[in-house]
Amino acid sequence: MTSLQTKALSISIGNKKVCENLDLSLQPGEIWGVMGRNGIGKTTLLHTLSGLRPPTSGEIFLNQKHIEQIPRKLVAQKLGLLLQHTEDVFPSSVLESVVSGRHPHISNWQWESESDYRLAYEALDKVQMKDLSHRPGNELSGGERQRVAIATLLTQNPDIFLLDEPNSHLDLHYQIDILQNLCEFASKEQRTIFMSLHDINLAARFCDKLLFISGDGKTKSGNADKLLNTKDLSELFQHPIHVTQGAERFIYTPA
Protein backbone atom coordinates (compact mmCIF):
# COMPACT_ATOMS: atom_id res chain seq x y z
CA MET A 1 0.00 0.00 0.00
CA THR A 2 1.29 3.37 -0.98
CA SER A 3 0.54 6.95 -0.06
CA LEU A 4 1.30 10.07 -2.07
CA GLN A 5 1.67 13.40 -0.31
CA THR A 6 2.52 16.93 -1.31
CA LYS A 7 3.90 19.62 1.00
CA ALA A 8 3.51 23.27 0.01
CA LEU A 9 3.44 22.27 -3.65
CA SER A 10 3.51 25.16 -6.10
CA ILE A 11 3.44 24.70 -9.85
CA SER A 12 3.56 27.41 -12.46
CA ILE A 13 3.90 27.30 -16.22
CA GLY A 14 5.46 30.55 -17.38
CA ASN A 15 3.62 33.10 -15.27
CA LYS A 16 0.45 31.03 -15.02
CA LYS A 17 -0.04 29.51 -11.59
CA VAL A 18 -1.58 26.05 -11.38
CA CYS A 19 -1.46 25.68 -7.62
CA GLU A 20 0.19 27.36 -4.69
CA ASN A 21 1.19 25.84 -1.36
CA LEU A 22 -0.94 22.81 -1.99
CA ASP A 23 -0.95 20.16 0.71
CA LEU A 24 -2.50 16.93 -0.48
CA SER A 25 -2.54 13.51 1.04
CA LEU A 26 -3.72 10.62 -1.11
CA GLN A 27 -4.38 7.57 1.03
CA PRO A 28 -4.95 3.95 -0.04
CA GLY A 29 -8.52 3.26 -1.09
CA GLU A 30 -9.35 6.88 -1.82
CA ILE A 31 -10.83 7.99 -5.12
CA TRP A 32 -10.03 11.56 -6.05
CA GLY A 33 -11.37 13.74 -8.82
CA VAL A 34 -9.56 16.80 -10.15
CA MET A 35 -11.74 19.40 -11.80
CA GLY A 36 -11.11 22.71 -13.47
CA ARG A 37 -11.57 24.55 -16.73
CA ASN A 38 -9.58 23.88 -19.92
CA GLY A 39 -5.92 24.81 -19.76
CA ILE A 40 -5.98 25.39 -16.02
CA GLY A 41 -3.17 22.87 -15.46
CA LYS A 42 -4.80 19.56 -14.54
CA THR A 43 -2.46 17.60 -16.82
CA THR A 44 0.56 19.53 -15.54
CA LEU A 45 -0.46 18.69 -11.97
CA LEU A 46 -0.80 14.99 -12.83
CA HIS A 47 2.60 14.94 -14.54
CA THR A 48 4.17 16.73 -11.58
CA LEU A 49 2.63 14.31 -9.10
CA SER A 50 4.02 11.39 -11.04
CA GLY A 51 7.48 12.91 -10.91
CA LEU A 52 7.80 13.54 -14.66
CA ARG A 53 8.17 17.28 -14.18
CA PRO A 54 9.80 19.15 -11.30
CA PRO A 55 7.51 21.35 -9.22
CA THR A 56 8.22 25.08 -9.02
CA SER A 57 8.57 24.68 -5.29
CA GLY A 58 7.45 22.30 -2.59
CA GLU A 59 7.87 18.58 -2.22
CA ILE A 60 6.21 15.34 -3.28
CA PHE A 61 6.52 12.22 -1.18
CA LEU A 62 5.84 8.68 -2.27
CA ASN A 63 5.61 6.60 0.92
CA GLN A 64 7.33 9.40 2.88
CA LYS A 65 10.24 9.39 0.42
CA HIS A 66 11.09 12.24 -1.93
CA ILE A 67 9.81 11.12 -5.33
CA GLU A 68 12.84 12.64 -7.10
CA GLN A 69 15.17 10.49 -5.05
CA ILE A 70 13.48 7.21 -5.94
CA PRO A 71 14.74 5.49 -9.11
CA ARG A 72 12.17 5.89 -11.91
CA LYS A 73 11.68 2.17 -12.23
CA LEU A 74 10.72 1.80 -8.56
CA VAL A 75 8.35 4.77 -8.88
CA ALA A 76 6.75 3.05 -11.86
CA GLN A 77 6.13 -0.07 -9.79
CA LYS A 78 4.08 1.98 -7.32
CA LEU A 79 2.59 4.72 -9.43
CA GLY A 80 1.06 4.63 -12.89
CA LEU A 81 -0.06 7.43 -15.18
CA LEU A 82 -2.69 7.35 -17.90
CA LEU A 83 -1.66 9.89 -20.52
CA GLN A 84 -4.06 11.96 -22.56
CA HIS A 85 -2.19 11.23 -25.76
CA THR A 86 -0.26 8.17 -26.76
CA GLU A 87 1.89 8.18 -29.84
CA ASP A 88 2.81 4.91 -31.50
CA VAL A 89 4.98 5.57 -34.51
CA PHE A 90 5.69 1.97 -35.40
CA PRO A 91 2.99 -0.68 -35.65
CA SER A 92 2.55 -2.98 -32.68
CA SER A 93 -0.27 -5.25 -31.64
CA VAL A 94 -2.73 -4.51 -28.84
CA LEU A 95 -1.21 -7.30 -26.76
CA GLU A 96 2.33 -5.94 -27.24
CA SER A 97 1.19 -2.50 -26.10
CA VAL A 98 -0.58 -3.85 -23.05
CA VAL A 99 2.21 -6.17 -21.94
CA SER A 100 4.61 -3.18 -22.04
CA GLY A 101 2.97 -2.20 -18.75
CA ARG A 102 5.02 -4.96 -17.12
CA HIS A 103 8.27 -3.16 -17.98
CA PRO A 104 8.93 -1.77 -14.47
CA HIS A 105 8.48 -5.22 -12.95
CA ILE A 106 10.91 -7.11 -15.20
CA SER A 107 14.67 -6.66 -15.21
CA ASN A 108 16.18 -5.44 -18.45
CA TRP A 109 17.61 -8.72 -19.66
CA GLN A 110 14.48 -10.73 -18.90
CA TRP A 111 11.65 -11.45 -21.29
CA GLU A 112 8.01 -11.24 -20.35
CA SER A 113 6.94 -14.51 -18.76
CA GLU A 114 3.72 -16.45 -19.13
CA SER A 115 2.39 -14.76 -16.00
CA ASP A 116 3.05 -11.29 -17.48
CA TYR A 117 1.01 -12.26 -20.52
CA ARG A 118 -1.68 -13.66 -18.25
CA LEU A 119 -1.92 -10.29 -16.48
CA ALA A 120 -2.14 -8.55 -19.85
CA TYR A 121 -4.98 -10.82 -20.98
CA GLU A 122 -6.82 -10.26 -17.71
CA ALA A 123 -6.52 -6.50 -18.15
CA LEU A 124 -7.73 -6.75 -21.75
CA ASP A 125 -10.66 -8.76 -20.51
CA LYS A 126 -11.54 -6.03 -18.00
CA VAL A 127 -11.79 -3.41 -20.75
CA GLN A 128 -13.52 -5.89 -23.09
CA MET A 129 -10.72 -5.89 -25.66
CA LYS A 130 -9.62 -9.50 -25.39
CA ASP A 131 -10.94 -10.41 -28.83
CA LEU A 132 -8.89 -7.63 -30.39
CA SER A 133 -5.59 -8.54 -28.73
CA HIS A 134 -3.79 -9.28 -32.00
CA ARG A 135 -5.05 -6.25 -33.85
CA PRO A 136 -2.41 -3.68 -34.88
CA GLY A 137 -2.73 -0.61 -32.65
CA ASN A 138 -3.06 1.79 -35.58
CA GLU A 139 -6.29 0.16 -36.74
CA LEU A 140 -8.15 0.96 -33.53
CA SER A 141 -10.73 3.64 -32.95
CA GLY A 142 -10.14 6.42 -30.42
CA GLY A 143 -12.22 4.72 -27.75
CA GLU A 144 -10.51 1.37 -28.33
CA ARG A 145 -7.14 3.07 -28.04
CA GLN A 146 -8.19 4.59 -24.72
CA ARG A 147 -9.25 1.17 -23.47
CA VAL A 148 -5.88 -0.28 -24.53
CA ALA A 149 -4.13 2.50 -22.59
CA ILE A 150 -6.24 1.71 -19.52
CA ALA A 151 -5.49 -2.00 -19.90
CA THR A 152 -1.76 -1.16 -20.10
CA LEU A 153 -2.06 0.71 -16.82
CA LEU A 154 -3.95 -2.18 -15.23
CA THR A 155 -1.15 -4.49 -16.37
CA GLN A 156 1.37 -2.15 -14.79
CA ASN A 157 -0.66 -2.77 -11.63
CA PRO A 158 0.47 0.24 -9.57
CA ASP A 159 -0.84 1.23 -6.13
CA ILE A 160 -1.60 4.75 -7.26
CA PHE A 161 -3.46 5.40 -10.50
CA LEU A 162 -3.09 8.92 -11.89
CA LEU A 163 -5.61 9.19 -14.71
CA ASP A 164 -5.72 12.08 -17.15
CA GLU A 165 -9.32 12.17 -18.39
CA PRO A 166 -9.88 8.40 -18.28
CA ASN A 167 -13.29 8.71 -19.93
CA SER A 168 -12.19 10.62 -23.01
CA HIS A 169 -13.28 8.98 -26.31
CA LEU A 170 -15.30 6.38 -24.40
CA ASP A 171 -18.93 5.81 -25.22
CA LEU A 172 -21.57 6.07 -22.52
CA HIS A 173 -21.45 2.39 -21.66
CA TYR A 174 -17.67 2.25 -21.25
CA GLN A 175 -17.52 5.53 -19.33
CA ILE A 176 -19.62 3.97 -16.59
CA ASP A 177 -18.39 0.42 -16.95
CA ILE A 178 -14.67 1.19 -16.83
CA LEU A 179 -14.85 3.79 -14.07
CA GLN A 180 -17.08 1.45 -12.07
CA ASN A 181 -14.59 -1.41 -12.43
CA LEU A 182 -11.60 0.78 -11.60
CA CYS A 183 -13.22 2.28 -8.54
CA GLU A 184 -14.48 -1.05 -7.19
CA PHE A 185 -11.02 -2.51 -7.74
CA ALA A 186 -9.44 0.45 -5.92
CA SER A 187 -11.62 0.20 -2.84
CA LYS A 188 -11.34 -3.57 -2.68
CA GLU A 189 -7.56 -3.66 -3.09
CA GLN A 190 -6.82 -0.41 -1.25
CA ARG A 191 -5.41 1.34 -4.34
CA THR A 192 -5.63 5.09 -4.89
CA ILE A 193 -7.19 6.79 -7.89
CA PHE A 194 -6.53 10.43 -8.72
CA MET A 195 -8.22 11.44 -11.96
CA SER A 196 -9.06 14.56 -13.89
CA LEU A 197 -12.67 14.67 -15.01
CA HIS A 198 -14.88 17.15 -16.84
CA ASP A 199 -18.19 15.49 -16.11
CA ILE A 200 -19.62 16.59 -12.75
CA ASN A 201 -22.08 13.72 -12.70
CA LEU A 202 -19.30 11.15 -13.08
CA ALA A 203 -17.34 12.91 -10.35
CA ALA A 204 -20.38 12.87 -8.09
CA ARG A 205 -20.97 9.22 -8.81
CA PHE A 206 -17.45 7.88 -8.34
CA CYS A 207 -15.27 10.24 -6.28
CA ASP A 208 -14.89 10.39 -2.50
CA LYS A 209 -12.71 13.47 -2.62
CA LEU A 210 -12.32 16.34 -5.01
CA LEU A 211 -9.71 18.92 -5.89
CA PHE A 212 -10.93 22.08 -7.60
CA ILE A 213 -8.36 24.10 -9.51
CA SER A 214 -9.70 27.54 -10.24
CA GLY A 215 -6.67 29.37 -11.66
CA ASP A 216 -4.29 31.93 -10.17
CA GLY A 217 -3.00 29.19 -7.88
CA LYS A 218 -6.24 28.91 -5.96
CA THR A 219 -7.39 25.38 -5.11
CA LYS A 220 -10.05 23.79 -2.95
CA SER A 221 -10.00 20.21 -1.77
CA GLY A 222 -12.17 18.09 0.43
CA ASN A 223 -14.96 15.57 0.56
CA ALA A 224 -16.97 15.35 -2.62
CA ASP A 225 -20.37 15.90 -0.98
CA LYS A 226 -19.07 19.15 0.58
CA LEU A 227 -17.71 20.61 -2.65
CA LEU A 228 -20.48 19.54 -5.00
CA ASN A 229 -22.76 22.51 -4.47
CA THR A 230 -24.04 25.01 -6.99
CA LYS A 231 -22.00 27.87 -5.58
CA ASP A 232 -18.59 26.18 -5.68
CA LEU A 233 -19.29 24.47 -9.01
CA SER A 234 -20.56 27.62 -10.69
CA GLU A 235 -17.52 29.49 -9.44
CA LEU A 236 -15.16 26.75 -10.66
CA PHE A 237 -16.56 26.50 -14.17
CA GLN A 238 -17.58 30.19 -14.36
CA HIS A 239 -20.91 29.00 -15.59
CA PRO A 240 -24.16 28.67 -13.63
CA ILE A 241 -24.88 25.06 -12.67
CA HIS A 242 -28.16 23.64 -11.36
CA VAL A 243 -28.71 20.62 -9.17
CA THR A 244 -31.84 18.53 -9.37
CA GLN A 245 -32.81 15.38 -7.53
CA GLY A 246 -32.75 12.41 -9.90
CA ALA A 247 -34.00 8.88 -9.39
CA GLU A 248 -30.76 7.56 -7.89
CA ARG A 249 -28.60 10.63 -7.19
CA PHE A 250 -28.32 14.37 -7.69
CA ILE A 251 -28.07 15.51 -11.28
CA TYR A 252 -25.89 18.47 -12.25
CA THR A 253 -26.82 20.44 -15.35
CA PRO A 254 -25.25 23.58 -16.79
CA ALA A 255 -27.69 26.42 -17.25
Binding site: V89, F90, S97
Partner: protein
Protein backbone atom coordinates in the same frame (compact mmCIF):
# COMPACT_ATOMS: atom_id res chain seq x y z
CA UNK B 1 19.03 -33.14 -33.25
CA UNK B 2 17.87 -34.54 -29.95
CA UNK B 3 19.68 -31.82 -27.98
CA UNK B 4 18.16 -29.17 -30.23
CA UNK B 5 14.62 -30.32 -29.63
CA UNK B 6 15.35 -30.52 -25.92
CA UNK B 7 16.64 -26.93 -26.01
CA UNK B 8 13.56 -25.86 -27.91
CA UNK B 9 11.32 -27.41 -25.28
CA UNK B 10 12.97 -25.77 -22.30
CA UNK B 11 13.29 -22.27 -23.80
CA UNK B 12 10.62 -19.79 -22.72
CA UNK B 13 7.72 -19.68 -25.14
CA UNK B 14 8.36 -16.00 -25.83
CA UNK B 15 11.73 -16.93 -27.33
CA UNK B 16 10.17 -19.49 -29.65
CA UNK B 17 8.23 -16.98 -31.70
CA UNK B 18 11.24 -15.24 -33.30
CA UNK B 19 13.06 -18.51 -33.95
CA UNK B 20 11.65 -19.34 -37.42
CA UNK B 21 12.38 -15.90 -38.87
CA UNK B 22 15.88 -15.72 -37.38
CA UNK B 23 16.71 -19.22 -38.66
CA UNK B 24 15.41 -18.30 -42.09
CA UNK B 25 17.49 -15.13 -42.20
CA UNK B 26 20.50 -17.06 -40.98
CA UNK B 27 20.04 -19.42 -43.88
CA UNK B 28 19.70 -16.45 -46.23
CA UNK B 29 23.00 -15.09 -44.93
CA UNK B 30 24.77 -18.37 -45.62
CA UNK B 31 23.17 -18.44 -49.05
CA UNK B 32 24.42 -14.94 -49.77
CA UNK B 33 27.96 -16.00 -48.92
CA UNK B 34 27.63 -19.05 -51.14
CA UNK B 35 26.44 -16.79 -53.95
CA UNK B 36 29.31 -14.40 -53.37
CA UNK B 37 32.04 -17.03 -53.51
CA UNK B 38 30.63 -18.86 -56.51
CA UNK B 39 30.07 -15.84 -58.74
CA UNK B 40 32.79 -14.03 -60.65
CA UNK B 41 34.86 -14.00 -63.77
CA UNK B 42 36.35 -17.38 -62.89
CA UNK B 43 33.84 -20.22 -62.77
CA UNK B 44 34.39 -23.06 -60.37
CA UNK B 45 32.46 -26.29 -59.94
CA UNK B 46 30.86 -27.03 -56.61
CA UNK B 47 33.52 -29.65 -56.02
CA UNK B 48 36.29 -27.11 -56.62
CA UNK B 49 34.59 -24.62 -54.30
CA UNK B 50 34.23 -27.14 -51.51
CA UNK B 51 37.83 -28.36 -51.73
CA UNK B 52 39.05 -24.76 -51.83
CA UNK B 53 37.01 -23.94 -48.75
CA UNK B 54 37.89 -27.00 -46.74
CA UNK B 55 41.53 -27.67 -47.59
CA UNK B 56 44.59 -25.52 -47.50
CA UNK B 57 46.07 -26.53 -50.83
CA UNK B 58 47.56 -23.93 -53.10
CA UNK B 59 45.22 -23.61 -56.06
CA UNK B 60 43.77 -20.73 -58.04
CA UNK B 61 40.35 -21.45 -56.61
CA UNK B 62 41.76 -21.33 -53.10
CA UNK B 63 43.47 -17.99 -53.70
CA UNK B 64 40.50 -16.35 -55.41
CA UNK B 65 38.02 -17.48 -52.79
CA UNK B 66 40.09 -16.85 -49.69
CA UNK B 67 41.80 -13.69 -50.80
CA UNK B 68 39.24 -12.00 -53.04
CA UNK B 69 35.66 -13.17 -52.82
CA UNK B 70 35.32 -14.18 -49.18
CA UNK B 71 36.95 -11.05 -47.69
CA UNK B 72 34.77 -8.87 -49.87
CA UNK B 73 31.60 -10.73 -48.88
CA UNK B 74 32.68 -10.40 -45.27
CA UNK B 75 33.08 -6.63 -45.57
CA UNK B 76 29.77 -6.32 -47.38
CA UNK B 77 27.99 -8.33 -44.72
CA UNK B 78 29.42 -6.32 -41.82
CA UNK B 79 28.66 -3.04 -43.55
CA UNK B 80 25.08 -4.07 -44.26
CA UNK B 81 24.65 -5.22 -40.67
CA UNK B 82 26.07 -1.99 -39.26
CA UNK B 83 23.84 0.14 -41.47
CA UNK B 84 20.69 -1.83 -40.74
CA UNK B 85 21.33 -1.69 -37.00
CA UNK B 86 22.11 2.04 -37.14
CA UNK B 87 18.90 2.54 -39.13
CA UNK B 88 16.79 0.77 -36.52
CA UNK B 89 18.34 2.89 -33.77
CA UNK B 90 17.98 6.20 -35.64
CA UNK B 91 14.32 5.47 -36.35
CA UNK B 92 13.57 4.88 -32.66
CA UNK B 93 15.77 7.73 -31.52
CA UNK B 94 14.08 10.25 -33.80
CA UNK B 95 10.75 8.46 -33.64
CA UNK B 96 10.57 8.95 -37.38
CA UNK B 97 10.05 6.23 -39.98
CA UNK B 98 11.99 8.25 -42.56
CA UNK B 99 15.16 8.35 -40.50
CA UNK B 100 18.21 6.56 -41.87
CA UNK B 101 21.78 6.27 -40.58
CA UNK B 102 22.88 9.29 -42.61
CA UNK B 103 20.09 11.66 -41.63
CA UNK B 104 22.07 13.35 -38.86
CA UNK B 105 25.05 14.16 -41.04
CA UNK B 106 27.47 11.41 -39.99
CA UNK B 107 28.10 10.34 -43.57
CA UNK B 108 28.27 13.97 -44.74
CA UNK B 109 31.11 14.72 -42.35
CA UNK B 110 32.84 11.50 -43.34
CA UNK B 111 32.39 12.23 -47.06
CA UNK B 112 33.80 15.75 -46.86
CA UNK B 113 36.88 14.51 -45.04
CA UNK B 114 37.29 11.54 -47.39
CA UNK B 115 36.98 13.70 -50.51
CA UNK B 116 39.53 16.13 -49.08
CA UNK B 117 41.93 13.25 -48.62
CA UNK B 118 41.27 12.02 -52.17
CA UNK B 119 41.76 15.43 -53.72
CA UNK B 120 45.05 15.65 -51.84
CA UNK B 121 46.03 12.48 -53.71
CA UNK B 122 45.80 10.16 -50.74
CA UNK B 123 44.36 6.67 -50.97
CA UNK B 124 43.54 3.52 -49.04
CA UNK B 125 43.61 3.73 -45.29
CA UNK B 126 44.32 7.48 -45.42
CA UNK B 127 40.91 7.99 -46.97
CA UNK B 128 39.09 5.77 -44.52
CA UNK B 129 41.02 7.31 -41.63
CA UNK B 130 39.97 10.81 -42.65
CA UNK B 131 36.41 9.60 -43.19
CA UNK B 132 36.32 8.33 -39.64
CA UNK B 133 37.66 11.62 -38.27
CA UNK B 134 35.13 13.55 -40.37
CA UNK B 135 32.29 11.38 -39.08
CA UNK B 136 33.48 11.88 -35.51
CA UNK B 137 33.64 15.68 -35.91
CA UNK B 138 30.12 15.71 -37.34
CA UNK B 139 28.76 13.55 -34.50
CA UNK B 140 30.26 15.85 -31.86
CA UNK B 141 29.00 18.94 -33.66
CA UNK B 142 25.42 17.67 -33.81
CA UNK B 143 25.58 16.34 -30.28
CA UNK B 144 26.75 19.61 -28.74
CA UNK B 145 24.42 21.80 -30.82
CA UNK B 146 21.35 19.66 -30.18
CA UNK B 147 22.20 19.18 -26.53
CA UNK B 148 21.99 22.89 -25.75
CA UNK B 149 20.15 23.64 -22.57
CA UNK B 150 18.76 20.43 -21.15
CA UNK B 151 15.99 20.01 -23.66
CA UNK B 152 16.93 17.01 -25.77
CA UNK B 153 13.88 16.22 -27.82
CA UNK B 154 13.77 14.29 -31.09
CA UNK B 155 12.52 17.25 -33.13
CA UNK B 156 15.43 19.46 -32.17
CA UNK B 157 17.97 16.70 -32.74
CA UNK B 158 16.43 15.88 -36.12
CA UNK B 159 16.44 19.49 -37.32
CA UNK B 160 19.98 20.11 -36.10
CA UNK B 161 21.21 16.94 -37.78
CA UNK B 162 19.37 17.58 -41.04
CA UNK B 163 20.74 21.11 -41.29
CA UNK B 164 24.29 19.98 -40.56
CA UNK B 165 23.86 17.24 -43.17
CA UNK B 166 22.71 19.86 -45.69
CA UNK B 167 25.81 21.89 -44.90
CA UNK B 168 28.03 18.88 -45.56
CA UNK B 169 26.09 18.27 -48.78
CA UNK B 170 26.99 21.74 -50.01
CA UNK B 171 30.63 21.19 -49.06
CA UNK B 172 30.65 17.90 -51.00
CA UNK B 173 29.28 19.61 -54.11
CA UNK B 174 31.90 22.31 -53.74
CA UNK B 175 34.75 19.83 -53.56
CA UNK B 176 33.37 17.86 -56.52
CA UNK B 177 33.05 20.95 -58.68
CA UNK B 178 36.55 22.27 -58.05
CA UNK B 179 38.43 18.97 -58.11
CA UNK B 180 40.32 17.90 -61.24
CA UNK B 181 39.03 15.15 -63.55
CA UNK B 182 41.37 12.42 -62.41
CA UNK B 183 40.19 11.70 -58.85
CA UNK B 184 36.57 12.53 -59.70
CA UNK B 185 35.47 9.01 -60.62
CA UNK B 186 36.90 7.59 -57.41
CA UNK B 187 35.13 10.29 -55.45
CA UNK B 188 31.76 9.59 -57.04
CA UNK B 189 32.16 5.88 -56.41
CA UNK B 190 33.03 6.57 -52.79
CA UNK B 191 29.95 8.75 -52.42
CA UNK B 192 27.67 6.09 -53.90
CA UNK B 193 29.08 3.40 -51.66
CA UNK B 194 31.84 1.14 -52.80
CA UNK B 195 33.60 -1.76 -51.17
CA UNK B 196 35.89 -2.81 -53.97
CA UNK B 197 39.21 -1.77 -52.50
CA UNK B 198 39.29 -2.26 -48.79
CA UNK B 199 41.09 -4.90 -46.84
CA UNK B 200 39.06 -6.75 -44.22
CA UNK B 201 39.71 -6.02 -40.59
CA UNK B 202 38.30 -7.26 -37.35
CA UNK B 203 37.46 -3.91 -35.80
CA UNK B 204 34.14 -3.32 -37.55
CA UNK B 205 33.00 -6.87 -36.81
CA UNK B 206 33.88 -6.17 -33.20
CA UNK B 207 31.89 -2.92 -33.27
CA UNK B 208 28.91 -4.70 -34.83
CA UNK B 209 28.93 -7.42 -32.19
CA UNK B 210 29.27 -4.92 -29.33
CA UNK B 211 26.45 -2.85 -30.84
CA UNK B 212 24.25 -5.92 -31.18
CA UNK B 213 24.84 -6.97 -27.58
CA UNK B 214 24.14 -3.52 -26.14
CA UNK B 215 21.02 -2.92 -28.18
CA UNK B 216 19.71 -6.40 -27.56
CA UNK B 217 19.88 -5.70 -23.83
CA UNK B 218 18.16 -2.36 -24.37
CA UNK B 219 15.57 -3.84 -26.73
CA UNK B 220 12.61 -3.76 -24.38
CA UNK B 221 13.40 -0.18 -23.42
CA UNK B 222 13.49 0.67 -27.13
CA UNK B 223 10.05 -0.87 -27.56
CA UNK B 224 8.76 1.43 -24.86
CA UNK B 225 10.66 4.46 -26.09
CA UNK B 226 8.90 4.17 -29.43
CA UNK B 227 5.61 4.72 -27.58
CA UNK B 228 6.65 8.24 -26.71
CA UNK B 229 8.90 9.93 -24.18
CA UNK B 230 6.25 10.51 -21.54
CA UNK B 231 4.91 6.98 -21.71
CA UNK B 232 8.46 5.62 -21.51
CA UNK B 233 9.31 7.77 -18.51
CA UNK B 234 6.12 6.89 -16.70
CA UNK B 235 6.98 3.22 -17.22
CA UNK B 236 10.34 3.77 -15.57
CA UNK B 237 12.70 4.23 -18.54
CA UNK B 238 15.46 6.83 -18.06
CA UNK B 239 14.80 8.49 -21.38
CA UNK B 240 17.52 11.12 -21.50
CA UNK B 241 20.56 8.90 -20.97
CA UNK B 242 18.98 6.28 -23.22
CA UNK B 243 18.57 8.81 -26.04
CA UNK B 244 22.14 10.06 -25.70
CA UNK B 245 23.45 6.52 -25.67
CA UNK B 246 21.39 5.67 -28.76
CA UNK B 247 22.64 8.72 -30.61
CA UNK B 248 26.28 7.96 -29.86
CA UNK B 249 25.93 4.26 -30.62
CA UNK B 250 24.00 4.73 -33.87
CA UNK B 251 26.49 7.38 -34.97
CA UNK B 252 29.46 5.18 -34.14
CA UNK B 253 27.98 2.26 -36.10
CA UNK B 254 27.34 4.55 -39.05
CA UNK B 255 30.84 6.00 -38.83
CA UNK B 256 32.37 2.52 -39.06
CA UNK B 257 30.12 1.58 -41.98
CA UNK B 258 30.82 4.77 -43.89
CA UNK B 259 34.51 4.54 -43.19
CA UNK B 260 34.80 1.17 -44.84
CA UNK B 261 32.25 1.45 -47.61
CA UNK B 262 31.29 5.07 -48.28
CA UNK B 263 27.63 6.05 -48.19
CA UNK B 264 25.81 2.92 -49.23
CA UNK B 265 22.24 4.15 -49.43
CA UNK B 266 18.96 2.43 -48.80
CA UNK B 267 20.01 -0.43 -46.49
CA UNK B 268 19.62 1.52 -43.26
CA UNK B 269 16.30 3.04 -44.24
CA UNK B 270 14.51 0.09 -45.76
CA UNK B 271 15.74 -3.02 -43.96
CA UNK B 272 14.16 -2.10 -40.58
CA UNK B 273 10.85 -1.41 -42.31
CA UNK B 274 11.00 -4.71 -44.17
CA UNK B 275 11.39 -6.60 -40.89
CA UNK B 276 8.61 -4.53 -39.31
CA UNK B 277 6.31 -5.43 -42.19
CA UNK B 278 7.14 -9.11 -41.84
CA UNK B 279 7.07 -9.49 -38.09
CA UNK B 280 6.16 -6.35 -36.16
CA UNK B 281 8.11 -3.84 -34.14
CA UNK B 282 9.48 -5.82 -31.20
CA UNK B 283 13.13 -4.76 -31.11
CA UNK B 284 14.26 -8.08 -29.68
CA UNK B 285 13.41 -9.58 -33.04
CA UNK B 286 13.81 -6.46 -35.15
CA UNK B 287 17.45 -5.88 -34.19
CA UNK B 288 19.01 -9.29 -34.96
CA UNK B 289 16.72 -9.81 -37.97
CA UNK B 290 17.67 -6.43 -39.46
CA UNK B 291 21.37 -7.13 -39.04
CA UNK B 292 21.06 -10.49 -40.83
CA UNK B 293 18.87 -9.16 -43.63
CA UNK B 294 20.96 -6.00 -44.07
CA UNK B 295 24.13 -8.04 -44.23
CA UNK B 296 22.70 -10.51 -46.74
CA UNK B 297 21.26 -7.80 -48.95
CA UNK B 298 24.62 -6.09 -49.18
CA UNK B 299 26.47 -9.32 -49.94
CA UNK B 300 24.04 -10.12 -52.77
CA UNK B 301 24.20 -6.56 -54.05
CA UNK B 302 27.96 -6.34 -53.96
CA UNK B 303 28.31 -9.64 -55.78
CA UNK B 304 25.98 -8.42 -58.49
CA UNK B 305 27.82 -5.09 -58.56
CA UNK B 306 31.04 -6.85 -59.53
CA UNK B 307 29.61 -9.35 -62.03
CA UNK B 308 26.81 -7.59 -63.92
CA UNK B 309 29.00 -5.57 -66.26
CA UNK B 310 32.30 -7.30 -65.47
CA UNK B 311 35.13 -6.53 -65.77
CA UNK B 312 33.73 -3.11 -64.90
CA UNK B 313 32.29 -2.64 -61.42
CA UNK B 314 29.19 -0.79 -60.30
CA UNK B 315 28.92 1.06 -57.01
CA UNK B 316 27.13 -1.27 -54.61
CA UNK B 317 24.69 1.46 -53.50
CA UNK B 318 23.09 1.39 -56.95
CA UNK B 319 22.38 -2.33 -56.68
CA UNK B 320 21.01 -2.18 -53.11
CA UNK B 321 18.39 0.25 -54.34
CA UNK B 322 17.63 -1.80 -57.49
CA UNK B 323 17.10 -4.92 -55.37
CA UNK B 324 15.50 -3.24 -52.40
CA UNK B 325 12.91 -1.00 -54.06
CA UNK B 326 10.82 -3.73 -55.69
CA UNK B 327 11.18 -6.07 -52.72
CA UNK B 328 10.05 -3.35 -50.32
CA UNK B 329 7.11 -2.34 -52.51
CA UNK B 330 6.06 -5.98 -52.70
CA UNK B 331 6.06 -6.29 -48.90
CA UNK B 332 4.25 -3.00 -48.48
CA UNK B 333 1.57 -3.98 -50.97
CA UNK B 334 1.12 -7.37 -49.40
CA UNK B 335 0.63 -5.93 -45.92
CA UNK B 336 -1.82 -3.31 -47.19
CA UNK B 337 -3.81 -5.94 -49.08
CA UNK B 338 -3.97 -8.00 -45.90
CA UNK B 339 -5.45 -5.04 -44.10
CA UNK B 340 -8.28 -4.65 -46.55
CA UNK B 341 -9.33 -8.25 -46.11
CA UNK B 342 -9.54 -7.95 -42.32
Amino acid sequence: MHILSLLYNIMPSTLRKPLPLISLLFLLSILSFAFAISMGSMHFSIHQLLTALSTNQDSIAHTIIWELRLPRAYIAFITGGLLALAGVLMQVLLRNPLADPYILGVSGGASVAALFAMSAGLAGSWVSGSAFIGAFISIMLVFSLAHGKGNWNPARLLLTGVVIAAGWGAAINFILSVSPEKPLRGMLFWLMGDISNISPNASSLFVLIIGLCITFLLARQLNILSRGDLQARSLGVSVKPLRMGLFLLASALTAFAVTQAGSVGFVGLIIPHMIRLISGSDHRLLIPASVLLGGSLLVFSDTLARVIIAPQQLPVGVITAFLGVPFFLFLLNRSMAGKQND
